[in-house]
C-alpha cells in the first residue's frame, strides 16, 4: 500500500508568523499533535504540541504569557523536516517513524505539501491490513520455515472453499518455525483446523488449559 492511500489529505497547517499561542490553540481544538508550517504552499518547517508546550513559560510566572502572542512559531519550529512522498510504501514510512523516533511525516510532492501521515494513520492501515475490521475467525498455524508452506496451507483453504480476509507471516516462537495467521471469512473454522492438523502442522489454540 502506498502512502497516498493511507495519509490524511486535509492537513491543518500554520504559517511561519502564526503566534505560539494561536498554534497551541489550533492543536488543542483539533486534537492534533503536529502542525506543518507552510509558506506559499511550500513546507518550511514543522512544530509539535510538545515544542509548543516547551515554549510555554511556567504557569507560576504570569507576566511572561504576553510574549506568546508576539512570538511566531518560526522561532521554535524545526526546519530540517523529514518528509515522505505519496508513492512511498506505507511500511517504509512506518519504518522511518520508528527509526527516527518521530510521530509523523509531512507528505510532499513537487515541492508542495499534499498530506500528512501519522502513527495513527499507520496503525489504522495496519488494522485494516490485518483484516480485523471484517467479520472473521482467527487461526494461527505453526509451520517449518521452508519454501512452499504458505501454498500448502492455502491449498487446504481452497479445498474447503474458505475465503481469506488477510494473512500474516511471522517468525515462529522457536528457531526454524514460522507462524502464519489467517483471518478467515467463516464462523466455523473446525474443518480447516482439522485439515491442518491432519497434514501434520500445529494450530495454536486459546492458551488457557494447562
Amino acid at each position: 500500500m502506498l502512502v497516498e492511500q493511507a495519509m490524511t489529505r486535509d492537513v491543518i497547517c500554520v504559517s511561519p508568523d502564526t503566534s505560539i499561542e494561536e498554534a497551541l490553540a489550533i492543536t488543542t481544538a483539533n486534537r492534533i499533535r503536529h502542525l506543518p508550517v507552510v509558506c506559499n504552499e511550500q513546507l518550511v518547517g514543522i512544530i509539535s504540541d510538545r515544542d509548543l508546550r516547551n515554549a510555554m513559560p511556567s504557569c507560576l510566572v504570569q507576566e511572561q504569557t504576553a510574549a506568546l502572542k508576539d512570538t511566531p512559531v518560526s522561532s521554535i519550529m524545526k526546519s530540517d523536516v523529514i518528509t515522505a512522498h505519496p508513492l512511498d510504501f506505507v511500511e517504509d514510512a512506518a519504518n522511518f517513524l520508528y527509526q527516527k523516533r518521530i510521530g509523523c511525516l509531512p507528505v510532499v510532492s513537487c515541492g508542495k505539501l499534499v498530506g500528512i501521515i501519522t502513527e495513527r494513520d499507520i496503525l489504522h492501515t495496519l488494522v485494516e491490513m490485518m483484516g480485523v475490521s471484517s467479520p472473521t475467525s482467527r487461526v494461527e498455524v505453526q509451520v517449518p520455515d521452508r519454501p512452499g508452506m504458505l501454498a500448502e496451507i492455502a491449498d487446504l483453504l481452497r479445498a474447503r472453499k474458505i475465503n481469506v480476509a488477510s494473512v500474516m507471516v511471522f517468525p515462529g516462537p522457536t528457531e526454524g518455525q514460522k507462524t502464519i495467521v489467517f483471518r478467515l471469512k467463516t464462523m466455523d473454522p473446525r474443518r480447516f483446523v482439522y485439515d491442518v492438523q491432519n497434514a501434520g502442522y500445529q494450530v495454536v489454540q486459546p492458551p488457557v488449559i494447562g
Binding site: 475467525s137 464462523m187 473446525r190 486459546p206 488449559i209
Partner: protein
C-alpha cells in the same frame, strides 16, 4: 388479557437449512419443540403462526441490492455451483439454497410479529426461537445469517412506536450485525456478552466499541475470556444488567438467547453449563417487569450442540417466559424418542450437575480478567455516570 404470552412457530421454519453437513441445523428447533410438547408446555393458546416479512420491512435494515441478490440466489436450481454472487452468499458459511429468501423472510416476519404482539399490548412476552440471526449485516450475509430479524424488529418498533429498545445478546459470538445497524442510534442500546474476538468469530466486540456520533455510549460490549464458567458469567451479568436497565429505562427489551457458550458447544471456547441458561431468562424477565412494564421479546440464536444443549436451554427459556414450572428431569418419552438418533448420550436433567466438568485450571485469573472487563465497560459509558 395481560399475562398472556406468545410462541411464534411454524414447521416452515425448518426450511432455513444450508445442507446436511452445515453446523446450523434446523433440526434443533424440531427436537426442542418435541421436548416442550412432551412436557405439555405448548398449550394451543400460546401458538402463533408467523407471516413472512414484507419487502419494505426487510429494506428498513438491508440494502436493496443485497435483498435482490438473495431473491435471485433463491431461484437458482439446487446443486448448481453458485457463481460468485458476492454479498457473503454462496460461501462456506452461508451457502445458497432454494427459496432461501422465503425461508429467511418468514423468520424475520416471525420476530416482527413477536414485536407487534408485545408492543400492541396483546401479550406481555413473545418468543421466536427461529430468530436471533444477529450476524447479518446491512449488505452482507454473515455467520450463518441471511437477514437480520432482530434488526428488522427493532427498526419496526422504532418506526411504529418510537420506543426505546434495549437489545441484550448473550450468544457466545459478538452480536455484531445488530450493533452496526444501530451504532449511531441513542434510542437503541445494544449490549453483547460474548467470548472475546481474540480466537472467535467475528473478531469484534471490544470494550472500546461504544457507538458513534449521537449513539456514543449506547453500544456496550463485555468480551469474556475463553473458558469462562457459569459463576463468572453470572457475576458479569449481575454487575451490568440491573444498573443499565434502570439508567437507560427502555420501553421494551429484546433478548437474543444463543446458547453456544456451553462447554459442549463445538464452535466456541466458553465453559458454561445449562445453569447459565436458567439464570439469564430469569434476570431478563424480572428486569422487563421492573423497567419495561413487562415488554419482552425473546429470540433464539446460536447453539451447535443440538442434542445436549439447545433443547434444554430453550425449554428453560420458554418455561421462564411463560411462567410454567419445569420438572428437574427430562421426560423419559423424549429420551426414548431421540436417544437412538443422537450421536451422544443425552443428559437427563435440565440443570447440569455442578461437577459435570473439571474446574478450569486458570479460573481465578479468568474471573479477575472478566471483572476488569466489566469495570472498563461500565466506566466508559457516559449515560451510566
Amino acid at each position: 388479557m395481560k399475562n398472556q404470552v406468545a410462541f411464534v412457530y411454524s414447521q416452515s421454519f425448518l426450511r432455513y437449512k444450508f445442507g446436511e453437513d452445515h453446523p446450523f441445523n434446523p433440526k434443533r428447533l424440531q427436537i426442542t419443540w418435541d421436548l416442550m410438547q412432551k412436557l405439555g408446555l405448548l398449550d394451543a393458546s400460546y401458538l402463533v403462526e408467523p407471516r413472512p416479512a414484507s419487502l419494505d420491512e426487510l429494506l428498513r435494515v438491508h440494502h436493496p441490492d443485497f435483498v435482490h441478490a438473495v431473491q435471485k440466489a433463491s431461484q437458482l436450481p439446487p446443486d448448481t455451483d453458485p457463481p460468485v454472487i458476492g454479498f457473503g452468499l454462496g460461501t462456506e458459511d452461508t451457502p445458497i439454497f432454494p427459496n432461501m429468501h422465503e425461508a429467511s423472510s418468514l423468520i424475520v416476519g416471525g420476530t416482527i410479529l413477536a414485536a407487534e404482539l408485545v408492543m400492541s399490548g396483546q401479550v406481555e412476552h413473545a418468543l421466536n426461537l427461529a430468530g436471533g440471526l444477529h450476524h447479518a449485516r446491512h449488505k452482507e450475509a454473515s455467520g450463518f445469517c441471511v437477514y437480520n430479524d432482530i434488526g428488522a424488529a427493532i427498526a419496526y418498533i422504532r418506526e411504529r412506536y418510537n420506543a426505546r429498545v434495549l437489545y441484550l445478546d448473550t450468544d457466545a459470538h459478538h452480536g455484531d450485525g445488530v450493533q452496526w445497524l444501530f451504532y449511531d442510534d441513542p434510542d437503541v442500546l445494544t449490549i453483547s456478552f460474548h467470548e472475546t474476538g481474540k480466537y472467535l468469530y467475528p473478531g469484534t466486540g471490544d470494550v472500546e466499541e461504544r457507538g458513534d456520533g449521537r449513539g456514543y455510549g449506547y453500544s456496550l460490549n463485555i468480551p469474556l475470556e475463553p473458558f469462562t464458567e457459569d459463576d463468572s458469567w453470572i457475576a458479569a451479568l449481575e454487575s451490568v444488567l440491573p444498573h443499565v436497565f434502570h439508567k437507560f429505562k427502555p420501553d421494551v427489551v429484546i433478548s437474543q438467547n444463543g446458547c453456544d457458550a456451553h462447554q459442549y458447544d463445538p464452535l466456541t471456547h466458553l465453559s458454561a453449563t445449562t445453569r447459565l441458561y436458567r439464570e439469564i431468562p430469569k434476570m431478563v424477565h424480572q428486569l422487563a417487569h421492573e423497567v419495561c412494564e413487562g415488554r419482552w421479546i425473546a429470540v433464539g440464536g446460536g447453539g451447535y450442540d443440538i442434542w445436549r444443549v439447545v433443547p434444554r436451554a430453550w425449554t428453560m427459556l420458554w418455561a421462564e417466559l411463560s411462567g410454567q414450572p419445569l420438572p428437574d428431569e427430562l421426560p423419559q418419552s423424549w429420551l426414548d424418542r431421540w436417544q437412538p438418533e443422537a450421536p451422544v448420550a443425552l443428559p437427563t436433567t435440565f440443570v447440569d450437575p455442578p461437577d459435570l466438568f473439571p474446574p478450569i485450571p486458570r479460573r481465578a485469573e479468568i474471573e479477575e480478567k472478566n471483572r476488569i472487563t466489566v469495570r472498563r465497560a461500565l466506566l466508559g459509558t457516559p449515560f451510566l455516570l
